[in-house]
């Protein structure tokens, strides 16, 4: 994916949801995309799959198996979507059709993309439910979504996404709506799928714990731009962008029982994407901001091998807030 930009024309002016985002995803890799609400993390993958409404102006390119998905005919994208690149949404309650049995919903994917017969589709659906470790899959396959719990529904969503054995699985906040004990089960499942099927996973989340648990590489986004990118261990051990540092300090850690220590606050708030300045978007909240960062957009620089930071003043020390 190269230089993706997404603009929306709204009544309040042009909103730059994503601004010049590039990344690559290797086979079998888990890429974590982290950021707070409105940082453009969901919009970028929607753009990748051409799922945005026509009001969105998308530029850039997204090469998948030597075809640019952003300029390819929609008919090609439709074949890729669901078959090669599958999507798991955040809300398992609303993204399943309440009026159809679970088995039929999974079967629909199989019949549409792979042309299976009804009977074969059903048998495969049972297999898939078993793969995502739903107990008694031959019974569950005939149930309706409302009969399943939240965790089960998310497993059904994943089963559906895996139906055509995709190369890439995009999961948008897959565990956000779930309880802690259910969440760790879903993360184990994703890890298992990656190992057994070699699926690449793009995991979009706001939860740094989820990233720490499962991702190989991490992209931190802020206001539509990439702030930092590094392998997961490098990022957590030596974060360089002040936003990443602030974000890590803001999370209370289990076991970090130092009750005197305050949580780090990032002053201010996420800027409106309608009036992004031609400067570092984080500058108004940044302790390191100076005239340079208030007048120019910082480019991504490689501070260490394979570690990119978009900041004029990178460094591992937290110095304010």
């Amino acid at each position: 994916m190269r230089d993706l930009s997404v603009r929306f024309d709204t009544d309040d002016g042009t909103v730059h949801a994503v601004d010049g985002l590039s990344f690559t995803l290797d086979e079998g890799q888990v890429l974590g995309v982290v950021g707070e609400s409105g940082c453009g993390k969901s919009v970028s993958v929607m753009a990748l799959l051409r799922l945005l409404p026509p009001t969105a102006h998308v530029t850039g390119s997204a090469e998948f198996d030597a075809v640019d998905l952003l300029s390819a005919p929609l008919s090609h994208v439709r074949r890729v979507r669901g078959r090669e690149i599958a999507f798991v949404f955040q809300e398992p309650m609303t993204s399943l059709n309440p009026a159809f049995r679970v088995g039929n919903q999974i079967g629909e994917v199989l019949r549409r993309h792979l042309g299976l017969s009804r009977g074969d589709a059903r048998r495969r659906a049972v297999e898939l439910l078993d793969l995502v470790r739903i107990p008694a899959p031959d019974r569950r396959v005939d149930e309706y979504p409302h009969q399943l719990s939240g965790g089960m529904r998310q497993r059904v969503m994943i089963a559906m996404a895996l139906a055509c054995d995709p190369k890439v699985l995009i999961a948008d906040e897959p565990t956000t709506a779930l309880d802690v004990t259910i969440q760790s089960g879903i993360l184990d499942l994703l890890r298992d799928i990656r190992e057994r099927l070699g699926t690449s996973i793009i995991l979009i989340t706001h939860n740094l714990g989820v990233v720490a648990d499962i991702a190989d590489r991490v992209i931190v986004m802020y206001a539509g731009r990439k702030a930092e990118e590094a392998p997961v261990h490098e990022l957590f051990a030596r974060p360089e962008h002040p936003y990443t540092i602030g974000l890590l300090g803001a999370v209370p850690r289990p076991g970090g029982a130092d009750k005197q220590g305050r949580l780090q606050e990032i002053p201010g708030r996420v800027p409106s994407l309608a009036q992004l300045p031609s400067a570092c978007a984080f500058a108004p909240r940044c302790p390191r901001a100076d005239d340079l960062s208030r007048s120019q957009v910082p480019d991504l620089r490689e501070v260490r091998q394979d570690h990119l930071v978009a900041c004029f003043h990178p460094g591992v020390e937290w110095d304010g807030g």
């Binding site: 107990p135 720490a212 648990d213 209370p252 076991g255 029982a257």
Partner: protein, 345 residues
């Protein structure tokens, strides 16, 4: 804190059942939302109430603040029984307890300015009016870190974090002795959460109110609270000081819960053992007989048949550490599911 002073809040054997469905046609049933919950909060203490969805933690909050009338049991606020007081009788007590809700978007009246919202409890309780009221509102805005001009704005003009500050200012306007906070930061972004948690802690230290803090997030509890109660399916399964609970969780459910919490550090997180619980939380319409956790308990085979027949009582196993498990007695712990050193890494 003198010894004769009664606890700010004392909840004894609280039960709340809801009837659902039509009884007329033989259908319907009883939701056992809370089934015998007891705890107390000392003056100036922060008690965290942790549980997953469906554990009944919000129902406890709503009963305590008397938005719901309990089915059985008693609630005492500073020694006074408020369990069955009428709305009229409760009114003078409303300034002693206040609530902050989870969703700062829907819990503020969109047709009032933020200043009116914050000043309303003072006005209704006839504690201030006119210029004096406005001054108090300005002070409260200052206290929660909002610019005074924002009091002329409407809630929709504010960000989520600012709205939650308005909610806090409103709750604290009447200097309550008890603040009930139901998931006050769950709807906010990480960087904003930190600010609200810091603020809540600072305000608590300045003003000295007691707080019942309800959340599903263990890390938040550890940061903020003095003691923690863990709920599962309408009952408290473990209650201890924050230090004891995090250093040595005894109930298998608490152990599982702590092991499932994600640590934002890949070095630590990837080495942790986790206890995966089978299945889902059972329906409160038909809770399991005996121990409610037995259907998901990794140690069920060890506690059977006692766990199927008898509901384990919440007992003190030493030093005020309360546990409700057949396998835990004073001087005897349940088998460790995880190495506790890992939990406090």
């Amino acid at each position: 804190m003198s010894r004769v002073e009664p606890p700010t809040l004392e909840v004894v054997d609280l039960v709340k059942h809801f009837h659902v469905g039509s009884q007329l046609f033989g259908g319907g049933g009883t939701v056992h939302a809370i089934d015998g919950v007891s705890f107390s909060i000392a003056p100036g203490e922060l008690l965290g109430l942790v549980g997953e969805s469906g554990s009944g933690k919000s129902t406890v909050a709503n009963c305590v603040i008397r938005l719901l009338e309990p089915t059985e049991g008693s609630i005492r606020l500073k020694g006074r029984d408020i369990t069955h007081l009428s709305r009229r009788e409760l009114r003078p007590l409303r300034s002693a307890m206040h609530m902050v809700f989870q969703d700062p978007y829907s819990s503020l009246n969109p047709r009032m300015t933020c200043g009116q919202i914050v000043g309303e409890p003072l006005r209704v309780q006839k504690l201030a009016r006119g210029k004096n009221l406005d001054q108090k509102v300005v002070d409260l805005f200052d206290r929660v870190g909002l610019r005074a001009e924002l009091r002329f704005r409407y809630p929709h003009e504010l960000s989520g974090g600012q709205r939650q500050r308005v909610g806090l200012a409103r709750a604290l306007s009447v200097s309550p002795t008890l603040l009930v906070a139901d998931e006050p930061v769950s709807a906010l972004d990480v960087s904003v959460q930190a600010a609200i948690l810091n603020l809540l802690r600072d305000l608590q230290r300045d003003m000295g109110f007691s707080c019942l803090f309800i959340t599903h997030d263990l890390a938040t509890v550890e940061y903020l609270c003095d003691r923690v109660a863990v709920m599962y399916l309408g009952k408290i399964v473990e209650l201890a000081t924050t230090r004891d609970l995090f250093a040595g969780p005894k109930h298998p459910y608490t152990q599982a819960l702590l092991s499932a919490a994600l640590v934002p550090d890949p070095e630590v997180q990837r080495k942790r053992t986790r206890v995966i619980l089978q299945g889902d939380i059972p329906s409160p319409l038909a809770p399991p007989s005996g121990c409610r956790f037995r259907t998901r308990c990794p140690l069920e085979h060890e506690s059977a048949p006692a766990s199927t027949e008898e509901d384990p009582p919440l007992i003190d196993v030493g030093g005020g550490h309360l546990v409700a498990c057949h396998l835990v007695r004073r001087g005897r712990d349940a088998p460790k599911l995880v190495d506790t050193a890992e939990l406090t890494a």
